[in-house]
Structure formats: structure tokens, C-alpha cells
């Protein structure tokens, strides 16, 4: 690295071309922060430096596909144990080929270190790169996990160093993230599994350091996501990567503290410079989830510089800003994984996986009781009618003693409706079904026992019995909806509050109690029905992979 002249006096004698050469070398080192420091150091050339970085950025971006295409014009290497290799992809570090393993007939992926990368480096750096590649192979081979692509063999031939691994046929998450049919549930499921694999890596003392959608492949047959690239993985214990090694990580997906440390160029803090910490991996998982939910990285931008600047300058915009239909809780999980302060993130990858698992398994009425909306619309008038019947029966001496019949008859359509509308194929469905039935059978049992007790206590005054009973009924309903708000829909608590006031109301106007309760019940049924219908539209617009969920649970 070129050392800068130490003071202003010397600086003023520097020619423009010399400054441009410094700029050029800093770009070659992929140092994103140099523009500002150079502008400060050479204020007399600040305009030129600005033009340099702007033009350089434009030309590099436009020329990139041509460069990538030209560096690929090279026959694939030939390996004795493989039939002819076919290129399937290339990354920053290597080229991946696929080929049939002669001995076993199995289709393998073979990853070679990028030959251009070695030849373009000095001898020492080239050796460093090869050493890093070998380390990457060893790491990948160390951990056996169903979400990590297994490594079979590490070798060296005339064309360079390579390793062979299972060939996973399928798209990467980068391919899938712009697919409109990818539901938030499926995204969460992918990230949950990947987070478990990352946790396994962490348990082995391996940090990944560059988790992004490009590095995760989804097996087309099994739908299982696999981590396929250890391009950056740094061994936690060895800390052996030299600081002169190039800038690593992917702008837009990098956590702010890593970008910050790059800017400060913190010497000696190798892991921070490389972005390899547990919380940086958690951030990587969060940004991958973000990309799946929104179709882009948490910090988008035209150029790498813009992405890095955005990472430093602002908080991540919530996924719900991009798509308000994304469930709130999932958005919160994503936001927590992407917290600016590493201490506010999930402390481990397992914690993130747990949070996603809990979210995935939470009961969801619109999914488990698809017809509930219709049922409740049908039940609402019946509830009103039965309570009106109570009102008129109380006025006649003959019918007074039979008033319990319409009161409890209104449970019948409710229970019939539940049995017709519910199905519980998913793991989350069964507890949801249990919760629904036990809550409402409990409601029925509590109402029945309070009616019997009140009738024994207050007989023969049926008016008093019913007034007291309706207060109890409203209080029991309030309790029921408070309990439900924890399981299903948070806003049930407001319905619970409503029933609290109904309980007070019927005590103030005991004569109108049946009407108040009737209106309250049918209103409640309608509100829930409308909410269910809304949830149904949202979930169908997100294209629920109902069938795939069902397969998974069995």
C-alpha cells in the first residue's frame, strides 16, 4: 500500500496523476472508504477525485458482464475421475463445474479456484488465496448437516486446486427472491433451516461471514435449502487471514459494524474486518430473509459505494413498507436480526431459528378454519333471535321457566359451525383446533353452571336470575376473548373490553339485558367474520403453499 505523504507541504507537490494512481490502487483493493479520505488529504484535487470515482463506478458497472464473460473463455479443466466437466456457475473466488464421477456414476459439483484470480496476484498473495481456498474446503468438509452441501474430496491438478461436493440441482435463493409466488411462510421456513445449519457451523467454531441469497441453493426435489458456498468462512479459532487480503463480503448484505470497521480500517481486528462474528452471521441471515420477503437487499443501491453508505447512514426500512401484507410478527423478527447494534440482535443463529419456528407454528384461524367467516355470518342472526326470544319469554309467566332453552340453544349452531369449518392438517392446526374447542366448551360449561347456581339461589324471580346470569355471561365472554387474544388475533382483547362493559351495562338496565346481549353477541360474530374474511384474502393473495405445508407436516 502506498503511504500518504505526512504533511500538507509535501501533499501540495503531488501531481494529479499520482493521486489518480493512489485512487486506482485503492479501487483494486476494494477499499470503499477511500474517496472521502483522499478528498480530505488532497483538497486541491477534490473535484477530479470526485469525477474519478463517479466515472470509475459507471464504467466498472457497465463493463462487469463483459469482464465476467471474457474471464470465462477457457476450456474446463479435465479430471481423470470425472467425465467431461461443464461450467455451471462462478463466484468471486472460484468456478463451479458439474460432472459425472466415473467410479460411482454420481453427479458431482467440482469447484475450482478462479485461475484468473491467482495469476493476477503476486506470488505471495496467490499462495494466500490457494491456502484460503483449501481452508474453505476443509471447513466445508468438517460439518455434516442436512442443510450444508457435503464435500467429498479435495485435490489438486494441473489446472489448480479444487474440491468436489454433492451437486445440488436447483435454484439459489437469489433466483427465488424475485419470484412472486414465494410466500412469507416459505421464506421463513428456508431461513429457519439455514439458521440451524449456521448454528451447527458456529458450534464447530466456524463463522460463515458472507451469508446471502446467492450462497444458498434449494434442492428442487426436496425443497431443502443448502449452504453451498463457504467463500468467506473464517475459522474462529485461527484468525489466520492477513489484513492485506482483499475486502470481503457483499455490500448491501453486510452489517453496519463491519462496514464501519472497514472504514476505520481497524488494524489487528481481523475478524471484524472480515465481518466474521456470530452476530454478523445473524445479520446475514436477517438480510437474506429480508431479500426473500422484499426481493432486494436491506440496503439497496446502484453501486457498492451507495450500498455501503446506506448501511452506515440509516436503519433498515421495515419489510412491511415494501409489502404491508407481510405478517407483523415476521417483520419484527426480520427487523430484530437486522438491528444496527449487534447487542440488539438475536444472540445466536439458533435463537433466530427458534423465533421463526414459533412464528411458523403459531395457530392461524384463517388457515385452520377456512370457512369460519361464513359460519359466523350465519350464526350472528341466530344469536340475536334467540336472545330476543328470551326477552319476550320473560314477559310471559308461562314461558319464564323455559327461558334457559333459547339461551343454551344458541351454542348449537356455534358448535356445528366449528365442526364444519375446521381442519387441522398442519402441526399448528391441531393445537389451534384444541384451543378453539376447549375455550368454547369452557364458555358453555361456565355459563351453564352459573345459570344453574343462580337459579337455585335466586328462584323463583326469573327476571333477577336472568339479569344476574347475563352479567356472568358477559364476564365469561370477556375472559374468553382475552384468552383468545393470546392465541389467535391480538385485537380480540378489544372485544374482551367490550364484553366487560356489556357486563356492567346489563346490570344497569336489567330489563333490556337480553337485547343488549343479543346485539353484543351478533356484533361480535360479525366483527370476527369480517376479520376472518380479510385474513383469508390476504393469505390467498400471498399464495399459501397449503399443499406443501401439508406434506411437510406428515
Amino acid at each position: 500500500m502506498t503511504t500518504f505523504p505526512g504533511n500538507r507541504h509535501e501533499d501540495s507537490s503531488v501531481t494529479l496523476d499520482e493521486v489518480l494512481a493512489v485512487c486506482e490502487r485503492s479501487i483494486e483493493r476494494h477499499d470503499p472508504t477511500v474517496e472521502q479520505s483522499l478528498t480530505l488529504r488532497y483538497p486541491q484535487y477534490s473535484d477530479e477525485i470526485q469525477v474519478f470515482f463517479r466515472c470509475q463506478g459507471v464504467i466498472e458497472r457497465v463493463a462487469e458482464p463483459v469482464f465476467a464473460a471474457l474471464s470465462g473463455v477457457r476450456p474446463p479443466p479435465s479430471l481423470s475421475e470425472y467425465e467431461s466437466l461443464v461450467e455451471v456457475g462462478r463466484g468471486g473466488m472460484g468456478v463451479v463445474y458439474k460432472g459425472r464421477h466415473r467410479a460411482t456414476g454420481r453427479m458431482d459439483a467440482v469447484k475450482f479456484i478462479h485461475p484468473d484470480r491467482v495469476s493476477s496476484l503476486s506470488k505471495m498473495d496467490g499462495e494466500g488465496l490457494v491456502a484460503r481456498f483449501r481452508r474453505e474446503c476443509l471447513m466445508a468438509a468438517q460439518v455434516a448437516h442436512q442443510n450444508i452441501v457435503p464435500v467429498y474430496h479435495v485435490g489438486e491438478c494441473e489446472q489448480g486446486v479444487y474440491y468436489s461436493m454433492r451437486f445440488v440441482d436447483g435454484p439459489t435463493l437469489h433466483d427465488l427472491m424475485t419470484d412472486p409466488s414465494l410466500s412469507p411462510q416459505q421464506s421463513a421456513r428456508y431461513i429457519e433451516q439455514v439458521a440451524r445449519a449456521i448454528e451447527a457451523l458456529h458450534q464447530h467454531g466456524i463463522l460463515h461471514g458472507d451469508i446471502k441469497p446467492h450462497n444458498i441453493v434449494v434442492d428442487s426435489e426436496t425443497e431443502i435449502p443448502l449452504i453451498g458456498d463457504f467463500g468467506l468462512a473464517a475459522m474462529e479459532s485461527s484468525g489466520c487471514l492477513d489484513t492485506s487480503s482483499e475486502f470481503m463480503g457483499t455490500p448491501g448484505y453486510l452489517p453496519p459494524e463491519v462496514v464501519q470497521s472497514l472504514r476505520e480500517d481497524a488494524p489487528g481486528n481481523v475478524n471484524a474486518v472480515l465481518g466474521a462474528t456470530i452476530s454478523a452471521d445473524v445479520y446475514g441471515l436477517g438480510s437474506t430473509l429480508y431479500a426473500l420477503l422484499t426481493g432486494g437487499p436491506p440496503h439497496p443501491g446502484e453501486t457498492a459505494q451507495a450500498r455501503l453508505a446506506s448501511t452506515l447512514a440509516r436503519d433498515v426500512v421495515s419489510v412491511r413498507t415494501h409489502n404491508p401484507k407481510i405478517p407483523r410478527l415476521l417483520a419484527e423478527i426480520c427487523q430484530k436480526a437486522l438491528a444496527r447494534d449487534p447487542r440488539h440482535r438475536f444472540s445466536t443463529a439458533a435463537e433466530l431459528a427458534d423465533a421463526l419456528e414459533i412464528w411458523l407454528n403459531q395457530p392461524d384461524w384463517s388457515r385452520h378454519f377456512p370457512k369460519l367467516g361464513h359460519v359466523l355470518f350465519a350464526v350472528a342472526p341466530l344469536l340475536l333471535l334467540s336472545n330476543m326470544a328470551v326477552y319476550f319469554m320473560l314477559r310471559s309467566a308461562y314461558w319464564q321457566s323455559l327461558v334457559w332453552m333459547p339461551v343454551f340453544a344458541s351454542y348449537i349452531p356455534l358448535f356445528v359451525g366449528f365442526s364444519l369449518s375446521g381442519h387441522a392438517f398442519t402441526p399448528a392446526g391441531r393445537p389451534a383446533l384444541r384451543a378453539l374447542w376447549s375455550t368454547w366448551i369452557g364458555h358453555f360449561a361456565a355459563s351453564a353452571s352459573s345459570y344453574i347456581s343462580l337459579r337455585l339461589l335466586l328462584a323463583p324471580d326469573q327476571h333477577l336470575v336472568m339479569a344476574a346470569f347475563y352479567a356472568c355471561f358477559a364476564a365469561i365472554s370477556a375472559l374468553t376473548f382475552f384468552v383468545n387474544s393470546a392465541h389467535f388475533w391480538v385485537s380480540y382483547r378489544w372485544i374482551g373490553f367490550g364484553w366487560m362493559w356489556i357486563a356492567v351495562g346489563v346490570s344497569v338496565v336489567p330489563d333490556g339485558a337480553p337485547l343488549i346481549i343479543g346485539i353484543g353477541s351478533s356484533l361480535t360474530a360479525c366483527v370476527i367474520a369480517i376479520q376472518e374474511r380479510r385474513a383469508q384474502t390476504i393469505s390467498s393473495s400471498l399464495r399459501y403453499p397449503e399443499s406443501s405445508l401439508d406434506c411437510l407436516s406428515r
Binding site: L20, A21, E28, V62, P65, V66, F67, A69, L70, V73
Partner: protein, 190 residues
């Protein structure tokens, strides 16, 4: 499908328009060691622009994506040139280069297809790339060489200065001015 004479004329016009871009690609493909033996513009001129001769097999209905189109055009011409060269105890290296040119164009098309999320973005990107390749031809000889080595072959400043026998400072200045004119040219045509 359009009628074949119309197609042939369109292909010829298209290749003529793409000629500067193809020359840039050919120059980038020919490694510096072969510069004296192989002439990029000759390569493109001699073999590629005779495309319309083979127009009877040609059937592209829309011009939509430049590099996909060009790839298809080159595929025909690679076959054509290989046939021709075989019969005249040909220049193997030249055929090889032509095939490389074809595979480069194919890779550019694939790469652009893989990176872009919407078709309109892709068309825009393709046009930009084509315009850049074309604009490189309007630079001075020295500027053209450094831009090709730097941006199309990915060489470092040090390597370029060794190759050209100039100081790194001089190369940096050359490169900067080349980029400025390219930015200017790209912006002008927008």
C-alpha cells in the same frame, strides 16, 4: 418470421452497427502476445461481416435483446467460418478466436439475463454494454489498450504498466482520461 431477403439485410445492417463493439471484444480476447499475428478488426471484418452470405439459414424474428441476437448471429458464422477455414488448411487459431468470441457473447447474454430482474432493465443494461464496447473504439490507441486491459481483462495498474512499459502514474492518468471520455460518450447517447 420475416421473409429471408429482408432478414439478411437486417442481419447485415445489425452486424455493421455492432462492428465496433465486436472489434472491442475481439481485441480484448486476443492476448497481448498475439497482437502482431492477429488483427482484431481483420478478424471481425473478414469473417463476421460475411454473415449475410449464410442468410438462408437465418431466422430471427425480433431484435429485442442485443446480445442474445448477436450470439445467434455468431453461432451461424462460427459454423460457417469453421467450414470455410477447414477447406483452406485454415488458421486454427483464428477459428479458435471466433469460437471464443461467440462464447464471450453468449456469456454476456447469460450474465445479463441472470442479473436482471425485469426485461426492461435487461434491455437497458444490454444497450449500455453495447454502447460502452462501441465507445471504446472511439478512444485513442493508448487509451483503448488500457481500458481493455483494466476493465475487460481485469488487470491491475501494476500489470498494465509492466505490459506497456509506462509508469503506473502515467497509466493512471491515461485511464482516468479514457474513462472520462467514455462517461461523456455514454451520457451523450442516452
Amino acid at each position: 418470421m420475416l421473409d429471408s431477403s429482408n432478414d439478411g439485410a437486417r442481419l447485415a445492417a445489425f452486424l455493421l452497427r455492432m462492428r465496433p463493439a465486436l472489434v472491442t471484444l475481439a481485441e480484448a480476447l486476443i492476448s497481448p502476445a498475439f497482437r502482431s499475428v492477429l488483427d482484431a478488426s481483420d478478424l471481425v471484418q473478414q469473417t463476421l461481416l460475411e454473415a449475410h452470405r449464410d442468410r438462408s439459414t437465418w431466422s430471427i424474428a425480433s431484435e429485442g435483446q442485443i446480445f442474445s441476437w448477436l450470439r445467434e448471429a455468431l453461432r451461424h458464422n462460427v459454423i460457417d467460418a469453421a467450414r470455410q477455414l477447414k477447406s483452406q488448411k485454415g488458421d486454427v487459431r483464428r477459428t479458435q478466436r471466433l469460437e471464443d468470441l461467440h462464447s464471450t457473447v453468449a456469456r454476456i447474454a447469460d450474465r445479463l439475463a441472470a442479473d436482471q430482474s425485469s426485461p426492461s432493465q435487461r434491455v437497458e443494461r444490454e444497450e449500455q454494454v453495447a454502447r460502452l464496447l462501441e465507445a471504446i473504439q472511439s478512444l485513442t490507441e493508448g487509451q483503448r489498450r488500457v481500458v481493455i486491459l483494466k476493465h475487460l481483462r481485469g488487470w491491475t495498474l501494476e500489470e498494465i504498466s509492466q505490459e506497456l512499459g509506462q509508469t503506473e502514474t502515467a497509466v493512471a492518468g491515461l485511464l482516468h482520461r479514457a474513462r472520462q471520455s467514455l462517461c461523456h460518450l455514454l451520457g451523450e447517447r442516452k
